[in-house]
Every structure is written in C-alpha cells, then in structure tokens.
C-alpha cells in the first residue's frame, strides 16, 4: 500500500541523545600513568647533554626530548599548548604529592652531592 514503506521512513527513529565519547584530556591521571612522567624519567637517563660550549644545541636537544615525550603522551595538542596543560595539571593534589615524592627521592643523594 504505502509506496515508501521500503525506504524506512515510517520506522520510528530514536531521538534519544547518545552520550558523546568524552574528550581525551591531558590531566593528572594521564600524567601519572605509565606513559606520563614515569616514562619521562626513564627516558631522561638516555638524554645526553654536551655541557659547556654547546648551550644552544643542548637546549634544542632538551626541547625536542620534551616535545617527543608529549607527542607520545598526548598527540593531538601542540607542544606549547600541551606544556600549558601539564603546568595546569601540576597544581592538582595528586600531582603535588607525587612531585614531592620525586624530589624527596633525590634528596639524600642531593645533599651529599652538595658537600663538594
């Protein structure tokens, strides 16, 4: 009877809004996760700086070290934007405690070094 029944026009369409996939965020969870700062620390061992006389090439090396790490961690944002996000997340409680721990890890060693 109805010519357009085959087109599926009369079938009921659900208008219920589906939940959007949440935006991926660069937050403290991500930073504390395995791809976050732990990885940065692991990689830092491989970072070789030449020292005096090579300040600018060293700086370039350091910056690309951070950039590649951030690109792995949060590929969609640009370097400077990602840095700002990381900085912002750094004020969160979880990160503050973690930062303190990391500093404390180096503390006894650092105070020994300082005696020179």
């Amino acid at each position: 009877k109805e010519p357009d029944s085959g087109l599926g026009i009369e079938e009921e369409v659900s208008v219920q809004k589906r939940v959007r996939v949440p935006n991926v965020k660069l937050d403290e969870e991500r930073l504390l996760g395995p791809a976050g700062i732990p990885k940065l620390r692991k990689r830092a061992a491989g970072l070789k700086l030449k020292g005096k006389g090579h300040e600018f090439s060293d700086a370039s090396r350091l910056l690309s070290f951070y950039q590649l790490w951030l690109d792995d961690l949060f590929p969609k944002a640009r370097f400077l934007d990602a840095l700002a996000m990381v900085e912002k997340a750094g004020h969160k409680k979880a990160l503050v405690t973690a930062r303190n721990e990391w500093i404390n890890e180096g503390r006894p060693k650092a105070s020994n070094d300082d005696d020179d």
């Binding site: 600018f56 590649l68 934007d81 930062r99």
Partner: protein
C-alpha cells in the same frame, strides 16, 4: 512606507518635522552671489531643533532626530554658513550672537561622543550608531576645514562676554556658555574615524595633524593656555574640560619625535625605514634558508624513527633540514586548539586609538603649545584638577582620573625630554630651567592621590585607570631621578625628599608587587605599564637604598607578632613624635597598625621572585618581535637580576620559558641580529641555559620539575639543595 516601497527607519512624522524646520531656517539666496539668507524666524527655528533633540532624542533615548538632521545636511548646509555671516568685528550685535550661540547649542549634542553602554542601548542605537559615527567624522571635517569662517574661533567668541566677567559675577547661564564652548572644542578634538571601519573620505582632513593645525590657526591653543594658566582664579569648574581637550590632542603622540627638529625627523624616518627593510630582508632570508628548493609537488616524504620503535611520517622537503625543523613541522601539522575564553573588547584601545602620526607642520605647532603649556599652565591646571578629583566634585567623571594621570605622565616625560635637549644643545649653561615648572605634581598631596588611586583601581579592577596610574608613577620616578642628577642643589634636595617619601610606605610596595604578580589578560598596554613600573621602581629603590643605608619603611601590618621586635631599633620614638598631636587612643591604634622598621633591599627584591611575577615578565617577553630596545632591556635586566643577583634562576627553568628563550636567539623567528640588544640577550640566554644544564646534572629531579611552576620552598631546595630555614627572617 516610502515612495520606492521601502520602509523608513525613523518615524515619518519626525522626518517631516525636521525637514520642514531645516527648510524654514534659511537658505542660499538666488541673488547676492548665493550668499546665505536667514529665514524670518531663524532663532525660533534653531530653538525648536534644539528642543527636538532634547525632548525627543535625549529624553526617550533614541537617535532619530540626529539621524534626520544628518540626512537633512543641517550642519554643513545651514549652521556653518550662518556662522559665516557673523563677522569677526560684530560681536556686539545681539541678535547675531544669539543665533551663533543657538547654532553651537545644536552642534554640541550632535557631535557628542556616543557611548556603547550595553545596558542602555536600544535597538535604535544599533540602527543609527554606525551611520552617526561616520556623520560625526563628516561634521568634524566640515567644521575644521570650513573656508569662509573660523568656526572654532567663532565658538570662543560666543563665550567671550561670559569669559570677560570675573568668576564671582558669572551667572549660571554664563558658566553654561563657557562649558558649551569647551565641550564643542572637546568634541572636535575627540572625534576620529571609528576603529575597525574603513574610512572612505580624505584622512588628511580629519587627522590629528589637521585638528592641531585648525586649533593653532584658529587661536584655540591661546584660549586653552589662558584658561589653564588662570585655573583656580578665574576658572574653577572648567578644569576637567580643558584637561579633556588637551588629552585628546596629545594622546599617543610620540614625545621624542615631537621634540625633534625637521632634519632629525627626516633622519629618524630614514633610519626607521632602513631598519624595517633590514628586518624584512632578514625575515626573507630566514625563509629562503628553510624554504623549498624545488616545486611544491616534488613530494618528499620521510620517516622519523622515534623511541619505542615508533615511526612518524612527514612530507615536504623542509623536513629534511634538521631535527629542529622536523620537530617544528610535526608540531605545526596539529590542528587541535585548546578551548579558550573569548577575548574581551579592549576599551582602552578604543579610547586611546592608534598612535598619532603628525606631519611636520602640526609637530611644530603642537610643540610650541606644549612648551608654553609647561611654562605657564602645567602647575595651575594639574594642581587644580588634583584638588577637584580629591574632593570628588560633581563634574568629575570616572574617566577624568585616568586622563589626569595619563596627562601628568605625558607632560613629565615631555619636560624631561625638553630639558635633556636643552642641556645637550648648550653645555653647562646656567639658564637650564629647573624642575619647578612641574613641581605641582611632585608634592605630598599628589602622592597621596596617586597611592590612593593605585590601591583603588587595583581593588575595583579598573585596569585602564591602573595602567595610567602606573605610567604616571613611573614618570614621577624618572623625573625625580633626573632631578637628583640635575646638579642644582634645591632640585636635588627636593628629589631626596620625594624619594624618601615614595619608598616609605610599605603598602605601596605591596601593591606594586601584587599588580605584577597577578597579571592576567589585561592587555599589552597594561602589561607594558606594569613591567615598566617594576623595572624603574626596583632600579631606583636599589640605588637609593645603597645611598641611604639606614632607610626606614612604614609597614601597615598588624605587628602583634614578636618577630619584628628586634628589628625595630627604637624607631618608636620617631613614630610617637610624628603622631603626638593625636589623642592618646589614636596614638596607640596608630602604633598598632603602623610600625617602622629597617628597609632591607634584598628582602624587598625577593618579592619579585615568585612564579607569578616571572610569568608576567615571560608573557611580556613573548612579544619580543615587536618590542623596542628599552622594553627588551627591561626584561633583560629583570631576568638577569632574578638569575644572577637573587640566585633564583630555578624560577626560569620551565620548559616553556626555555623554549621562549631559545627561540629568541635560535628559533625560526629570532630577535633582529642587528638590534642593539641582541648581543646582551644572547649572552644572557646562554648563561641561563648553562646554569640550567648544570642544575639538571646536579639534581635529576629537575627534569620533572621543569614542567611545572615551582613553589618558593621547592625552588629554594632546588637552588641550594637544602630546606629553607623558616625561622630565620633575615
């Protein structure tokens, strides 16, 4: 509906009324060489038009009448020719002068600046304002370029009978007339093509140069000088209006260029051109160095091997160049932008407008006005305005305070430039003028006003005013510093006094430190003012505290804590002696709230080390491409002080700051290598980087901390390797 089928935007009856009134006013006669003939009831007609404006437009907050008047070409077609029939030597013809006055009474509301106050705007405002803003520009062009008569001068002439009366004899009507004329001049000085609209007429006929030229030719400068120098005696409530006119004439005028001779200007312009061309060629060179060497479809594609066995691909030959270029390219390919708040409209820029460009003629005219004003009008006018602002007189508007501080700053700088020129031109000549010409803004009352305005503007978040106050403060500091070097004993003595007063109040130090610490999207002008103030404040205070080792500071904190007791050094006697005219209770209270203690520059400077302050300076540095040498120097000195004098370089060890510093020297858009500051900056960046790498070796945890802002305690630990002893206060 109109004849052509469109609907009219104003009520047709209004339009009919206005056009019949304009027609009745008069017109060019057919005989008599087409000279203007007044209608029979011209005066009544003018009054009717005035009434229409007052009771239709202003009362009901519409702009219909103004729109109709614009379309009827009333000002250009009628009012100006009418004023031209009022000969200069016939001031005493009563009827004519009444007509002239009526003309100005219509022109003032028509040229009145329009406010975009969102709360009061109706649909009519949105409908008419764009047209009327352009209409005002057209009015201004017609008025200041009118050939047959000097309209501005005629305005002053209408006020002459009232001006001639002594202040005490002036009736309310006389004062109204003087005000009216001043407003008219203010409007003429103020009208400029609206920003973000392409003005289609001849810019040179309404530019600042044309305005200044008209003001000079029509003797308005003389009028302003007379009023300014007699402020307080013959004139009282006119102070803010005179100030406003001067403000709109000199705002954003480059002082250095103003005091150059024509040859120097030519030289400066040529120099500017060469430096700009050098800059451009350097830019092009940088581009061709990294630019493609083959056509754009050459189709290079490379893989970048990364850690963890990852690969990323990049296309384009420029990716072959080096790692930095590859990283940059990888970054550029990303499109995601983090959500940001929309920028607020910057009211300040609307008010100040673009930098004024003056031609040689206008420069000369304005210079002679500025010099005469400094010689005669500066002290009386600004002292009077200061008093008016202090007593919060009814005719003071909010923006007057801002204009006041802006003008004081501008004229102080002008005076210093002038004196410097004089000193340079004739070495050790004894008639170098003293600073007494600007002494009116260097007294104690002014500092009270200034401090109060600074606190208030900061508290009420009035950033435009705060920027003006900071500019003013900076200029006072610089003027005082110039005074200490002037070699005149009395000037040096005054300067000493002023400085000791300036640096006495600790609450001022606190406010300045807070301002610079809490910067957040207030715009470049504000940022510039704040960093400038901090730079000079620190510099001059340091020099001063070296000279006077035992400087005292009054703190407004409650000093119940015993910590400060040992630092007090028996200065209570001084406090008591100073305040013993108060009653005993007040004495106690005053002692509780204010105490004096020794000033310690190191501790004071430590207030400018927190991350907030560093962030503000870093944000300022991001504009390094557009900065001039003095601005670059300012930031350079701050970073230098931070890293090497106060040993807080850790504050700079953050990846984005390192990124910025590196890019200033070696990035794709480095500082201009030819500029004077490049060498200094290269050295500074090098030293900071070296320190940074040393620190990373010393303390590997810095690799993590470099991502974040550091608290003072963390920074202290990273810097020195031990906890700060919180008990010791020295």
């Amino acid at each position: 509906e109109l004849a052509d089928g469109t609907t009219d935007i104003v009520h047709p009856e209004v339009r009919a009324h206005i056009s019949s009134l304009v027609a009745a006013l008069g017109g060019a006669s057919t005989e008599d060489d087409g000279r203007y003939h007044l209608g029979d009831d011209a005066l009544e007609v003018l009054r009717d038009i005035k009434r229409w404006i007052r009771f239709y437009d202003e009362k009901t907050n519409r702009m219909d009448v103004a729109r109709c008047i614009h379309e009827a070409n009333l000002i250009e077609g009628d009012l100006l020719p009418i004023l031209a029939t009022w000969p200069e030597n016939a001031t005493d013809i009563k009827y004519k002068s009444r007509i002239a006055l009526a003309c100005f009474e219509i022109m003032v509301p028509l040229t009145w600046p329009m406010e975009r106050d969102k709360e009061r705007m109706t649909i009519n405002h949105h409908r008419h304002m764009p047209v009327l803003e352009l209409a005002q520009v057209q009015y201004k062009m017609a008025i200041i370029n009118f050939d047959e008569a000097r309209i501005l001068h005629a305005a002053v002439r209408t006020a002459l009978p009232s001006l001639a009366l002594p202040a005490s004899d002036r009736a309310a009507r006389d004062q109204g007339i003087i005000k009216l004329v001043l407003f008219f001049l203010r409007n003429m000085a103020m009208i400029a093509p609206p920003p973000n609209v392409q003005y289609e007429g001849d810019e040179t006929q309404i530019s600042r140069s044309a305005t200044i030229d008209a003001f000079s030719y029509q003797d308005i400068f003389l009028f302003l000088l007379t009023l300014a120098s007699n402020m307080g005696d013959d004139f009282r409530t006119e102070d803010t209006s005179v100030m406003e006119i001067i403000y709109h004439l000199i705002k954003r005028v480059d002082i250095e260029k103003l005091f150059m001779t024509e040859q120097q200007v030519h030289k400066a312009k040529a120099h500017e051109l060469t430096s700009l061309m050098n800059k451009e060629s350097a830019m092009l060179k940088a581009y061709t160095r990294n630019g493609p060497t083959r056509h754009n479809r050459f189709g290079t594609m490379i893989w970048v091997k990364r850690e963890d066995g990852k690969m990323s691909s990049l296309s384009g030959q420029d990716a072959l160049a080096d790692t930095t270029a590859r990283n940059l390219k990888m970054d550029k390919n990303k499109v995601f932008k983090p959500p940001r708040r929309t920028k607020k409209e910057n009211k300040d820029e609307r008010d100040l407008g673009p930098p004024a460009k003056l031609n040689a003629r206008a420069t000369g005219q304005l210079r002679s006005f500025v010099e005469e004003f400094l010689d005669s009008g500066f002290n009386p006018l600004f002292q009077h305005v200061r008093k008016t602002i202090d007593r919060e007189a009814s005719h003071v508007m909010q923006y007057h305070r801002r204009q006041f501080f802006y003008l004081v700053a501008w004229f102080l700088e002008a005076e210093r430039t002038r004196q410097k020129l004089k000193r340079d031109s004739k070495k050790n000549n004894d008639d170098v003028s003293s600073f007494s010409l600007v002494a009116g803004v260097l007294n104690q009352e002014m500092f009270i006003t200034l401090n109060k305005a600074m606190h208030e503007a900061y508290e009420y978040k009035d950033w435009h005013e705060l920027a003006a106050v900071m500019r003013c403060f900076t200029q006072i500091l610089l003027t005082v510093q110039a005074m200490t070097e002037s070699g005149r004993e009395d000037d040096e003595e005054i300067a000493e006094n002023v400085l000791s007063r300036l640096f006495y109040e600790e609450s001022t130090h606190d406010t300045i430190a807070n301002i610079i610490r809490t910067y957040k999207d207030q715009g470049f002008y504000y940022l510039d003012a704040a960093t400038e103030l901090v730079h000079h404040f620190l510099r001059i205070l340091e020099a001063y505290s070296k000279q006077n080792a035992d400087m005292q500071v009054r703190s407004r904190k409650r000093t119940r804590q015993k910590k400060n007791k040992d630092q007090q050094q028996g200065t209570e006697d001084g406090v008591l002696a100073e305040e013993n005219d108060d009653s005993a209770n007040d004495d106690e209270a005053a002692e509780r709230t204010s105490k004096e203690r020794k000033f310690d520059f190191q501790r004071f400077a430590a207030r400018f080390t927190p991350q907030g302050v560093v962030n503000t300076f870093v944000k300022f540095t991001r504009f390094y491409q557009d900065m001039d040498d003095s601005q670059l120097k300012r930031v350079h000195r701050f970073f230098y002080r931070l890293a090497f004098k106060q040993e807080m370089s850790v504050m700079l060890f953050r990846v984005d700051i390192i990124h910025l510093l590196y890019n200033m020297i070696k990035g794709p858009e480095p500082l201009d290598k030819g500029s004077g500051m490049y060498k200094d900056w290269e050295e500074l960046v090098k030293q900071i980087l070296r320190k940074c790498f040393k620190k990373i070796e010393q303390r590997p945890e810095l690799i993590i901390e470099m991502l974040f802002s550091k608290l003072q305690s963390t920074a202290f630990f990273l810097e020195y390797g031990y906890e700060k002893q919180t008990t010791s206060k020295k």
